[in-house]
Amino acid sequence: MSDKLTDTFLAEANELIIDIERCLLEVGRGSDDRENISAIFRAMHTLKGASGMFGYELVQRLTHNLENIYQDIRDGNRFLDSVISELTFKTLDQLRLLLGGPSNTSEPAGYHELLEIVKSVSGDQSALSVDHHYNSPSPAEQCTYYIQLTPHLNIIRNGTNPLYLVDDLLALGSGIARPFFNELPELHQLDAENCYIGFEVILATDKAEDEIQAVFLFAEGNCEVHIARIANENLIKEFTNETNPFITAETGKVIGFESVRKSMDKKLASRVTETANKALKAKGGNIRVGSEQLDELMNLVSELVTTQARLSLFANISESNELSGISENIEKITRRLRDNAFTMSLVPFDSIKVRFQRLVGELSKELNKSVEFATEGMETKIDKSIVEKLIDPILHILRNCIDHGIETSEVRTKNGKSSQGKVSLKAFYSGSNVVIEISDDGAGIDLERIRDKAISRGLISKDAQLTDLELTDLIFLAGLSTADNITDVSGRGVGMDVVRRNIADIRGEVEVATIEGQGTRFIIKLPLTLSILDGLLVKIGATEFILPLSAVVKCYEVETTQLEETFNHWITLDGQRTPFFYLRKIFSITQAKPLYSQLINVPYNGSLVALAVDQIVGEYQAVLKPLGNLYLEQDEFSGATILGDGTVALVLDPTRMIKNLSASETTNQIHN
């Protein structure tokens, strides 16, 4: 073993020990125990495997026993109490000592005692230990088995050589193998790549039947295997020429278990037992489904939702109680089916986490900055198609955090911060949304510089009064990069405007908050899924629109004249002065006005804004269809849906609409 390899191992082993210590301390501090315990277990497991490879047998032995304890803890069979954690620390010290010396040394003082303690602690619970559980008792006595192996014709083409299987079988004990022909065709039909030979093996072994079956583990599907126990003792040594069951038939035909039994001496046969071949049980409750199949399921569910909406509509019109009952029932089932199908297409963040970890690792090395990357809530699930589109924006934000946010160690120490910077990625559910927070504890965004830059680029006027929030938001504008000297890392290629656009494409929002000197936080808000929306169906004139139900806070009824007569578009709702947008006017709908209009309160930037419509029809599950290219500029509509009667309704994105409407006003203010 070369020195370089051993050095790598030692460095890694030390890292693993440090990891274990760190996780152990964190468990002590009461952070996420499950995650830490799995991490401890995994680190021990890796250490065990590697130390075995590099000849550190003592390390391997000690770690193995310690690992058993943590396996129990991980599986919830015991608690990580102070006794165990103290023992672990003690063991880690011992491991360090062992790793400090050469491999293959003799046991240092205290090793044996410690090993015994660890063994006894892990042994306490051995009845519950998983290892123990899986081990089927192996018979102490030798048994004799009859094994018939019939390979499929294509077994060799599939990469399995049946001879190896026979070799592996015979390696389990002593045995006799005999080939037979398996449906041998006429010579001219013989395919050299086919396997026409099968084998019968009589095997005497002290191994359990499980282990015999394990030989065929990777050949299953390529051959038929029949295993029968013929005696609870070793018959092989009693075989003479007369009793050898294979001697009697040399025809190349399969003899079979029955004949083997018959051909044996009566004396032997009386002791022969027959055991049914236990089928290999498939374990685990998961089945794999192709993603096209899943997409098809989602499609069908979508269609079903649309059709069901139509049925509900028809049931309402028909005024038949019976039909309404059925329709309501179908609605309930459809909803559950829909929710069920959804969860199937959700994937956890975990699946993309490693991309971010690698980026942070590589970047911090490249930029020579010390950065800790923390993640939280990576089990949060989100639609598969969203996840894929999220990777690039998050990578970009992370790049910015490390490149511009995190300061060098020297600067950090000078400013009284820990020398290691911290970047964290957090995901969690919030209502029907998934929120992703990316934050760093770096320098924050220099708002004055943003301001200067925006003025110099003509994005805002010189005397524009902007709040800090609005200023920070400017980083999402195209053509505003604060990176004066474009580094290799960020400041090239896509800018934050692209990040916002990409996130908007998946119906998400991105915001940024920063405190100078303390750090920056990016908040991405995303819908759980893209294809179906729980909506509120509203009407203006004869035109129908859908609002996402998640955005609706409260609805009010007011006289239409009240909306028409106001001069500043403010109205008092529940004693609160609320700005409102009169959609009838905005959409230039001129059909007859109703006597009463409806105001719908939606949240916007921490306060409430009302949208005025003519009529609220009711809740509606909308199957979102994308709008065509012609509507690309109309981002206040997130899509369209087909209503039960076949008409098309646009789906409003209230936040974006309000933003656009108020932006046009703000821009006017800025430029005037």
């Binding site: 790598t8 191992f9 890796t46 495997g49 075995g52 899986y134 081990n135 490693v354 991309r355």
Partner: protein, 121 residues
């Protein structure tokens, strides 16, 4: 042309060790730190063989096999598990997922190469 092998293990030393053994035997080797990383490597490379650890953070070996087996370009590549686990339960699990072979750690180089040659032939 040298056959290409992807080695997936979260332990750097095992990764290096296996790579060294394989490279000395004339194989071309790529490395990945876990299942998820391996999938990224597989996005743009194809291999004659994948050797993977079982127990890894983020994505374990069995999930990797399951994923690879439904990936159109890679669904037929032989996959050998290289792991400290030796129990049938795990082997069974791996086989169901679509593993081709199994080598238990600690292993000797000759044994590993023998299994590889067996699978690659």
């Amino acid at each position: 042309m040298a056959k290409k092998i992807l080695v997936v293990d979260d332990s750097e030393s095992i990764r290096m060790l296996v790579s060294t053994i394989l490279e000395n035997a004339g194989f071309e080797v790529e490395r990945a730190v876990d299942g998820s990383d391996a999938l990224h490597v597989l996005d743009s490379n194809s291999f004659h063989l994948i050797i993977t650890d079982l127990n890894m953070p983020i994505m374990d070996g069995i999930s990797l096999i399951e994923k690879v087996r439904v990936t159109p370009h890679h669904n037929r590549v032989p996959i050998i598990m290289l792991t400290t686990e030796s129990h049938t339960f795990f082997k069974d699990h791996a086989r169901t997922a679509g593993a081709t072979g199994w080598v238990v750690k600690p292993f000797v180089a000759d044994k590993l190469l023998a299994v590889i040659n067996k699978v690659l032939r």
